[in-house]
């Protein structure tokens, strides 16, 4: 991986101020993994502290700047996001012969789809444990609450395991979850890592009414969409959103012909 795509992850104001210097520092060659992860961490930090891109404004009294993240939780959050982004970027760069459909999902679905979901609120809970990392995203959409949790165990890099799960909750007291991906071994660990992409994307589909399709453009005119028909595996609770769980992810070519269909298996 080279530096330029990673530098695009920084806020525009930050790139205008420090982008040339940073690019000159890392050079045009391929990056090592530690340097790539460090740049990702820096990008997250820059987004969390946009005031850093305008030092003259702040120096004139336009804001306050902590010289270090103020709390352990904040530091853990920054680190967690950096690790998750790093795992995703590295996982997406790997060939995945088992579920190739996963790769374009993550590559195309992040910011635009999340924006289209029109989340009124989005809360993130994250923790770093001794043997892994975990994050829970709680979004309260216009029609339902959605909980997305991702987890990646880090017992050892080649033995990385974990999974991603997603659930809806009619009320916070009665959450219901179903697995999107789970488990990994030395041969298909990237499935698990890519699951952290699928879970947020699938959460977007949950906010759409029955039968609607969230279309995500792929390459060469092909596209991918979620089928959000009522799930045969769940009995909708009255007044809840459980009946709108996406049951399948479908990929179609430019003419609308399906060429891949990925069922979303239910159950923990």
């Amino acid at each position: 991986m080279r530096a330029r795509p990673l530098l695009r992850l920084y806020p525009r104001e930050w790139r205008e101020r420090y982008g040339d210097e940073l690019e000159a520092l890392v050079g045009p060659g391929p990056l090592t993994l530690p340097v790539a992860l460090d740049l990702l961490r820096g990008a997250v930090d820059a987004h969390l502290h946009p005031e850093l891109a305008t030092p003259a404004l702040v120096a004139a009294g336009g804001g306050t700047i902590p010289l270090v993240p103020r709390t352990p939780r904040m530091r853990a959050g920054v680190l967690l996001l950096a690790v998750l982004f790093g795992l995703l970027a590295f996982g997406l760069a790997q060939p995945n012969p088992v579920l190739p459909i996963i790769l374009p999902i993550g590559a195309h679905a992040s910011s635009a789809s999340i924006a289209q979901a029109r989340y009124p609120t989005l809360h993130i809970r994250a923790s770093i444990e001794k043997n892994g990392i975990a994050a829970v995203f709680l979004a309260r959409g216009p029609q339902s609450a959605v909980v997305v949790s991702t987890r990646a165990a880090t017992l050892g890099w080649m033995d990385a395991g974990g999974g991603a799960s997603i659930g809806t909750a009619a009320t916070d007291e009665h959450p219901m979850t179903f697995g999107v991906t789970s488990g990994a071994n030395n041969e298909n660990q990237w499935i698990t890592i890519s699951g952290t992409v699928i879970a947020p994307v699938a959460s977007v589909a949950l906010l759409y009414p029955d039968g609607s399709r969230e279309v995500l453009p792929l390459h060469d005119g092909a596209f991918l969409w979620f089928e959000t028909r009522p799930s045969p595996f769940l009995t909708p609770l009255q007044g809840s959103a459980f009946g709108r769980l996406p049951s399948e992810i479908v990929a179609s070519d430019a003419a609308g012909n399906e060429f891949a269909r990925l069922p979303l298996h239910l159950g923990n």
């Binding site: 930050w14 890392v26 340097v35 460090d38 961490r41 930090d45 306050t64």
Partner: protein, 101 residues
């Protein structure tokens, strides 16, 4: 402007490097590696540079191509001196306690 008085380890290293004279990012990175043995990644380095510049502890000088040297300001020099004094006190206590073991 309210500032957190505590300097991060990266900030101390950068201020220490610039105490020797203005340097651009790559020169700072090399100097820190030479002095402390620590390899600061580019994202960490420029995150710390941005914070220090915002706090008024360092300031850019004339750009050299894509590289922009930074210099230590008076406020940065004072902050570094205070941090060194604090670290010296901690180091002295640690040395005494280790000697008493």
């Amino acid at each position: 402007m309210a500032l957190d008085n505590k300097l991060s380890a990266e900030a101390v290293l950068i201020l220490t490097s610039l105490a020797d004279g203005p340097k651009h990012g790559y020169a700072i990175q090399l100097d820190i590696a030479r002095v402390s043995g620590r390899q600061l990644g580019p994202g960490s380095l420029y995150g710390a540079i941005a914070r220090l510049e915002t706090s008024g502890y360092i300031a850019p000088t004339t750009t050299e191509g894509a590289r922009r040297p930074y210099r230590l300001t008076t406020a940065g020099s004072r902050a570094l001196a205070e941090e060194v004094a604090r670290l010296t006190r901690v180091t002295n206590v640690a040395r005494r306690r280790l000697a008493a073991r």
